[in-house]
Amino acid sequence: MNRMTEALAIQGLSYRRNQKQILKDVNLTLPTGQIVGLLGANGAGKTTLMRLIAGSAINFRGTIDVAGVTKAPQRKGQISFSAQMAGFNPNWRVGQVADVMTALFPDFRTADFLQLAQLLDLDQKQRIKRLSKGNQRKLQLAVTLSRRAALYLLDEPFDGIDVMTRKAMLSSILRWTPEQATLVISDHHVSDIDQLLDQVVVIKDQTVVAQEAADTIRAKGQSIEAYFESFYGGEQHD
C-alpha cells in the first residue's frame, strides 16, 4: 500500500460503549483527493465512526491511520471535523468563533472563514445561540472548511437545510476543499449529495458493508439512492 495516496486507512476497528457493540471489524481505505459519501441508517454508527477517526472517541480496537498518522493527538491536526465547535460558548458571536479557532488550530484561515461566512450569508455579530438550526449548520461548515486539513469530516451537514441553502453549501464544499484533501460526508438523504460524490461507503450492522465508485453504480443503471436502499431492503431508515 502506498501511504502517500491514502487519506484514511482503518483496519480491524471495533468499538464498544456501555457494554454495547457500536462498530465491529471495520476496514476502510480512502484515497486522497476524493469526496466520499458515508451512508447508513440513523444509528448505524456513522457519527461514532467519524468521532473515532477524529480522535473524539477513544478506547477502540484496531488501527486508524490518517495521512500516515495513527496516534490520536497528531491525527487531530490532520482532520477538520464538523463537530469541533461542539464545546463553544453559545454566547460567542460568529465573528469571535474565528478568533477562537485561530487560537486552537494553526491551520485555520480567517480570510477563508470571512469569505465563507459572507457566501453563506452569516451575520458576524449574531450570537451562536441566536442562530437558527440552518444557520448553525452553515457556521459549522464555514468553520470546518476554513481549516487546511488532509481529511474533512462533515456529519449530516444538510440536516434541516432548505434547497437554496444546500446549493450554497455544496458550492462552498467544492470551492474550499483543497485538491489533495479527502472529504467524507455522512448523510441519510443520499439525493442531497449524490452528484458530488466520487464514491460511497455503506454502513450497516455496525460495520462497512460496501464501498463503490459513484459512476460505477450509475453505469449499471442504478441511482446512488437505490443502491443504498438495496442494503436496507424494506427497512425504515428515516
Binding site: I35, S171, G221
Partner: protein, 126 residues
C-alpha cells in the same frame, strides 16, 4: 444543471460539452473553462470533470495544451463526426420505439415529415 441520477455523471458532462460545441457556445479552437470553474458551474466534483475532459481529449474533440488548458479542436471533420453521433443518439431511441410499433422505415420517414410540418405550422401561429 440537472443530472439523470442513473447515468454516470462524467458521461452526462461529456454530452453537455458536446452540445455546447454543437450550438456554438464553444467555437472550434475556443478554450474550455478551467476544471475547477466547470466543477462549480455544474456542482460536481473536480475528479468527475477531469474524467469527462479526459474522455473528450481521447476522442479528439478537445485538445490539451500543456500549461494552457483545454481547447475545442479545430478539426472540422472530428466535430462533424461528433455532431453526427449526437444526432444519431437522439434518433436511435425514436427509431426503436417506432419499430416496436411495427412501422416500416418508409412509414417512419413519412410520419416524421408530417410531424415536422404540423409542428412548424403550430409554431408559426404564436
Amino acid at each position: 444543471m440537472e443530472f439523470d441520477d442513473k447515468v454516470p455523471i462524467y458521461f452526462q458532462i461529456e454530452q453537455y460539452i458536446d452540445r455546447e460545441i454543437i450550438v456554438g457556445n464553444l467555437a472550434p479552437g475556443a478554450q474550455v473553462p478551467a476544471v475547477r470553474q466547470l466543477a462549480l458551474t455544474l456542482t460536481v466534483n473536480v475528479n468527475t470533470i477531469q474524467r469527462a475532459l479526459a474522455e473528450l481529449i481521447r476522442e479528439g474533440i478537445l485538445v490539451s495544451e500543456r500549461g494552457k488548458g483545454n481547447f475545442v479542436t479545430t478539426d472540422t471533420q472530428v466535430l462533424a463526426q461528433m455532431k453526427k453521433r449526437v444526432i444519431q443518439g437522439e434518433l436511435a431511441g425514436t427509431y426503436d420505439h417506432l419499430a416496436s410499433l411495427g412501422m416500416a422505415p418508409a412509414e417512419m420517414v413519412a410520419a416524421l415529415e408530417e410531424y415536422i410540418k404540423e409542428r412548424k405550422g403550430g409554431e408559426s401561429h404564436d
